[in-house]
Symmetry: C2
Subunit: 246 residues, 2 copies
Amino acid sequence: MTYCVGMMLRSGLVFMSDTRTNAGLDNISTFKKMTIWEEPGERVMTLMSAGNLATTQAVVSLLEERSKHPEDRTPSLLRAPSMFQAACMVGDTLREVIKGLREGGQRADSAFEATLILGGQIAGSPPRLFLIYPQGNFIEAGEDTPFFQIGEIKYGRPILVRAYDPDISFADALKLLLVSFDSTLKANLSVGAPLDYFCYRTDSFEKKHVGRVEADNPEFQAISTQWGNALKQALDTLPDVHLNTN
Amino acid sequence: MTYCVGMMLRSGLVFMSDTRTNAGLDNISTFKKMTIWEEPGERVMTLMSAGNLATTQAVVSLLEERSKHPEDRTPSLLRAPSMFQAACMVGDTLREVIKGLREGGQRADSAFEATLILGGQIAGSPPRLFLIYPQGNFIEAGEDTPFFQIGEIKYGRPILVRAYDPDISFADALKLLLVSFDSTLKANLSVGAPLDYFCYRTDSFEKKHVGRVEADNPEFQAISTQWGNALKQALDTLPDVHLNTN
């Protein structure tokens, strides 16, 4: 499994992904699930993936190849006129890869499927964030749904639903995401550190604020250990219930 | 879907279950998923169910019928010599019902399946808590795993993992469960209020502290609205992270 979150803030976009992949419980590896394309001053795009690793790597490789020499190859993400067109391109590539695998004589139902989050900005337009389905179609984040999760989404969702605020800083957004990821890590063996992150500041058009949080990062560990106590204190601040317990 | 939690405390057992059942998104009903059997002064048993409603109702009806005139019918939950034997009996009944449905010419793979939580106490032994699988086998709660969840378990799990403490009072346990259920209700349409609860005090051998929390219960609403703020404040108490965000 996997856990990735893409989030829209007033100040930009924030992405975080885990790095664990597994084929069964006894075959665990670490792979980066976040890819960033950059044309400094002109566009930045981030892609995160959940699902079949072969599928997602094929999608990224195809997009990479087409982006390295954009003059020679079309369509290229680095030539897409808008984030919408970029999302179409990624969706088409995803559908194409899954279709190719299915037609290759393999029958595995949904085993080749993958779901993607694409976010970024092209000069002249605001940042945009998309959730791309295995079928190649996609939905876009907005004020009502300002973040997308893919993979093992349930454990880490309640804290995001409650504490998300479009006005928080990048540092607070990363803190919120670390809590959400920590809740997931604690509950599900198929999600694992290190965690990759990227905070994109609107109109910066640069790949900055990129990093990786290792499992033994002391700040991450402090958050993890202190969150349990913070939750207990939060419970204590709630009003008493006077149900039938006496 | 469904969400039920059974929890062992030093002072006894606490159970909570939602009441929503659905066949598709447009066919929603309210059914009680908690059944309590009582022989005052001698034994109390609680059963909660998740899964196919027809299966779980058949299991409860069979167990009920056999318990009403325990002299005439064996095996009866009210004559089981131990909670272990009671769990065997419930597991056998569950397997029998699922097998009967499968052999009735219907093919629906796991569609007839159900999972149960059984907890209670028989005079002379301590309280015990079991999770019973569709195959009829079961596991028992202990100090390392002091609570069981069935149904839509993921959203409400992180708060239980972090804040569970065997020494909390019934009132605080219900508060914790209301938060766990509220997180689930907010995220999943297939789990819904009212919520049934039962707090069983060890060696009381009586069905007391039983009740139902309606969606418009003002204390539940206060907890639901204030939990978001409490979480934000809990986040604020966490140490700052100095990742690459400047």
